[in-house]
């Protein structure tokens, strides 16, 4: 992903300035910034993944073996926060940076300088998160949802985490404003909204969700900060506040957030499946409306995370119906993908394998989501490992698989070299298998009653946890293969042809050389 060749020989004023490390620090080029996002995200994935392995190691058998309960909670919290805000979201912003300008025929992002800032906030925010481990009392052990009033009991690490969330939010908001503006204002002539590749559409909607919800999260953690230090009573009943208020505000952000994670993944898959089916995306218009529909619904379903807080029955029912309704537009998407494959001319290179893996497993995660959406049933399942299984199916097999698909799919475009197909296929199968070994059994543990966020558990859950822990280590090791494949492609991959994927037909493939030059579309192309 690094070392993008510039084979436009022309002298150009933007090349001056910095070399070496300073090039990456000061760059205003969307491709450089995309690369930075992607590497950052991978590093965070490793960090978050190692925390997951600590969790899984401790849960390998009953009893306390490696870590104390306090530290276990810190691991869970930081694993969730780092994976969501550090690994998955930046990965897709990385794709957005690389692809959106190329896909809509723009010279760069609308605000290239701001773009640099959006990225360069992230490492500092991540440092705050990591620093919290070194504060007295350690990192907060409150879960990534940071429910009040447990947050009030935490030490300095909590404050660092709050500020980290502020910074992450700033980064997301600035990045999203950039993406929105780029898509709305930088399209080449003839690139109407309804001609944009699906990936661009999903990002348009995602960026909107981010701008609308990240500030709400910032508000929630700001109130937490005030309750901690300034004696306010937002979440304190004695002062007339309510701990549950925090949950409402958090989930008002939190539920759209899960679609912020999912929608760009849908976008990647909507590029990959047609390409390897050699057939246009089925139901483009309905894909656009389904995406919009999901985004709108996502604002009125948040309390399905709160069926056990004691809402009135009308609340339970309203949120249950609204939540279940999301199955309809999501179903439309699933059906459209399958219909795209139907009667195509299918081939199964690594990106396609990951896309199919995504489709299969994400749908399973969607169905477990549907089970959870039913308030009566969720009473049994809330805060058990069933929920953990659900969200890893949609976030790991969903978003992460789509991210892998995207990297394999676009890597040739970015670096002009192919990855090793055989190894890619190995990576897929290992990932696929170990993923299921890790997380499928968690459904059983959850149904049988194992609570989440516990460092130790009753004996009856031992079998499932053993299997899950074995799977997790296998899954983690398999990801080293991914790193190797990418590095190998960059170092010594075969030269990629102009259009390695026969069926890929967006303008980044058809109108640009491979690898994509450092500056693209300085004069806008005319889209037929």
């Amino acid at each position: 992903m690094s070392a993008v060749l510039d084979d436009h020989g022309h002298a150009h004023d933007h090349h001056g300035g910095y070399g070496g490390i300073m090039r990456w620090i000061t760059t205003t080029n969307h491709k450089d910034i995309g690369t930075l996002y992607l590497w950052f995200s991978f590093v965070m994935f490793m960090v978050g993944g190692v925390m997951a392995l600590v969790i899984r190691a401790e849960l390998f058998e009953p009893g306390l073996q490696f870590v104390n309960p306090d530290f276990f909670n810190q691991m869970t919290t930081m694993h969730g926060l780092i994976m969501v805000f550090g690994a998955i979201m930046p990965a897709f912003v990385g794709f957005a940076n690389w692809q959106i300008p190329m896909m809509i025929g723009a010279p760069d992002m609308a605000f290239a300088r701001l773009n640099n800032w959006s990225f360069w906030i992230l490492p500092f925010a991540a440092s705050l998160l990591v620093l919290s481990f070194f504060m007295p009392g350690g990192a907060p052990g409150v879960g990534w949802t940071m429910y009040a009033p447990l947050t009030v009991q935490m030490g300095m690490g909590m404050d660092l985490t709050i500020f980290a969330v502020h910074l992450l939010g700033m980064s997301s908001i600035m990045g999203s404003i950039n993406i929105l503006t780029t898509i709305l204002n930088m399209r080449a002539p003839g690139m109407t909204l309804m001609r944009m590749p699906m990936f661009v559409w999903t990002w348009l909607i995602t960026a909107y969700l981010l701008v609308a919800t990240m500030p709400v999260l910032a508000g929630a953690v700001t109130m937490t900060l005030a309750d901690r230090h300034f004696g306010t009573s937002f979440f304190n009943a004695a002062g007339g506040g309510d701990p549950v208020l925090y949950q409402h505000i958090f989930w008002f952000f939190g539920h759209p957030e899960v679609y912020i994670i999912a929608l760009p993944a849908f976008g990647v898959v909507s590029q990959v499946i047609p390409a390897f089916s050699r057939k246009p995306l089925f139901g483009y218009a309905s894909m656009v409306s389904a995406t919009t529909g999901i985004a709108i619904l996502s604002f009125i379903v948040w309390a399905h995370h709160m069926y056990t807080v004691g809402m009135p029955v009308t609340g339970q029912l309203f949120f249950m119906y609204a939540t279940a309704l999301i199955a309809v537009p999501t179903g439309v998407k699933v059906f459209n993908w399958v219909a795209t494959m139907w009667k195509g001319s299918l081939s199964f290179e690594t990106p396609m394998l990951f896309a199919i893996g995504f489709l299969f497993l994400f749908t399973m995660g969607g169905f477990s989501g549907l089970v959870l959406s039913l308030a009566a049933v969720d009473i049994q399942l809330h805060d058990t490992y069933y929920v953990v299984a659900h969200f890893h199916y949609v976030m790991v097999a969903g978003a992460l698989f789509a991210a892998f698909a995207g990297v394999y799919f676009w890597l040739p475009k970015w670096i002009g070299r192919m990855y090793d197909e055989t190894l890619g296929q190995w990576h897929f199968w290992l990932t696929m298998i170990f993923f299921n070994v890790t997380f499928f059994v968690q459904h059983f543990a959850g149904l049988a009653g194992m609570p989440r966020r516990i460092p130790d558990y009753p004996l009856m859950f031992e079998t499932w946890n053993k299997i899950s822990s074995i799977g997790a280590f296998g899954f983690g090791l398999s990801q080293l293969l991914f790193l190797y494949i990418v590095l190998k492609a960059i170092r010594s991959g075969e030269r990629a042809p102009q259009r390695p994927w026969e069926g890929a037909d967006s303008i980044d493939w058809t109108m640009l050389p491979t690898p994509a030059p450092y500056h693209t579309f300085e004069t806008p192309p005319l889209i037929k």
């Binding site: 004023d13 933007h14 300035g17 910095y18 620090i25 000061t26 205003t28 080029n29 010279p107 760069d108 609308a110 605000f111 290239a112 300088r113 701001l114 640099n116 800032w117 360069w120 906030i121 490492p123 500092f124 440092s127 705050l128 030490g155 300095m156 404050d159 660092l160 500020f163 980290a164 910074l167 404003i177 950039n178 503006t181 204002n185 701008v211 609308a212 990240m214 500030p215 709400v216 910032a218 508000g219 929630a220 109130m223 005030a226 901690r228 230090h229 004696g231 306010t232 009573s233 937002f234 009943a237 004695a238 002062g239 007339g240 506040g241 309510d242 208020l245 409402h248 505000i249 004069t523």
Partner: protein
């Protein structure tokens, strides 16, 4: 660079700025300030130094960054396409600000409509909070001291008038700019800033009054919390707006902006109007009802 160029004919060259170190400087500044604040809040030493250091870097960075932007703008680097980008960007930014306030208004709504009535329900009276009544303003069942809520028709009403008139003066200033009446522009812009500053002065007075005479504090239960956080963040936004207006005034005085090309002015004006609307909402739901 006619305004009609927006979408019909494509602009040939979109301005992509030079690489520059300002963003990472800003990040480092924010990092230092966050670290410093954490230390200050937890009574550890050294926090203020870190904050001050970070703040200085932030100021320097803004100075340089905005300097570059202004130079580019005055150097004619921004055409209609860039201008439209700025408009989109600013609009989305204001949406994000709206959503930030939305969270705090939500908290106020929740306290008034859900938690205070709930805490004073029969069941809660019987089991946890004997005698607590559903009256707003409320500082909650565990709050023993007496306090006086802030009335709407004194200082807050004056402040409403001040902000509303500042919206009008700002529009006059804009007309001045559009019609190339620089004197009118400068005068009304100046007036706007004066009105904004007066508003802030009154708000400071009001806070002092609340603390010293009404026994109304940030710690006065959920009423105090929502009152000070909402009005406080609003006041913070007014301050930012006033600073930005001042920068614009300085630029106007040094002859920047053209009658058909002055988005910086408009952006600040949008921001000011947004702050204005937030105040109206505050006035109605925080002070009045």
């Amino acid at each position: 660079m006619a305004q009609t160029a927006y979408s019909s004919t494509p602009q040939q060259h979109y301005h992509v700025p030079q690489p520059m170190p300002w963003p990472i400087m800003g990040s480092a500044a924010l990092f230092l300030m966050a670290l410093g604040a954490t230390f200050v809040f937890n009574d550890s030493s050294g926090g203020w130094i870190s904050i001050a250091f970070g703040f200085m870097i932030l100021l320097y960075m803004m100075f340089r960054w905005f300097g570059d932007v202004i130079r580019e703008s005055e150097g004619g680097k921004y055409g209609a396409r860039e201008d439209l980008s700025f408009r989109w960007g600013m609009s989305w930014f204001i949406l994000s600000e709206v959503m930030f306030f939305f969270g705090f208004f939500g908290a106020l709504f929740w306290a008034r409509v859900m938690s205070v009535p709930d805490l004073s329900s029969l069941l809660h009276n019987e089991m946890l909070w004997p005698g607590f009544k559903d009256l707003w303003p409320s500082a909650g069942p565990g709050f023993a001291e007496k306090f006086t809520p802030m009335g709407a028709w004194g200082v807050p009403a004056i402040n409403t008038l001040l902000l509303l008139s500042s919206g009008i003066t700002l529009t006059y200033a804009h007309w001045g700019l559009v019609n190339n009446q620089r004197g009118k522009l400068n005068l009304f812009l100046f007036l706007t800033i004066v009105l904004g500053a007066t508003f802030l002065g009154f708000q400071i007075y009001e806070y002092g009054h609340a603390y010293s005479e009404l026994n109304l504090k940030l710690t006065t239960g959920v009423y105090g919390s929502t009152f000070f956080m909402l009005t406080g963040f609003h006041g913070f936004h007014v301050s930012l707006g006033a600073i930005m207006l001042t920068v614009i005034l300085i630029r106007c005085l040094s002859g920047h902006f053209k009658s058909d090309h002055h988005f910086a002015f408009e952006a600040v004006a949008w921001y000011w109007h947004f702050v204005d609307v937030v105040w109206l909402l505050l006035f109605v739901v925080v002070y009045w009802l």
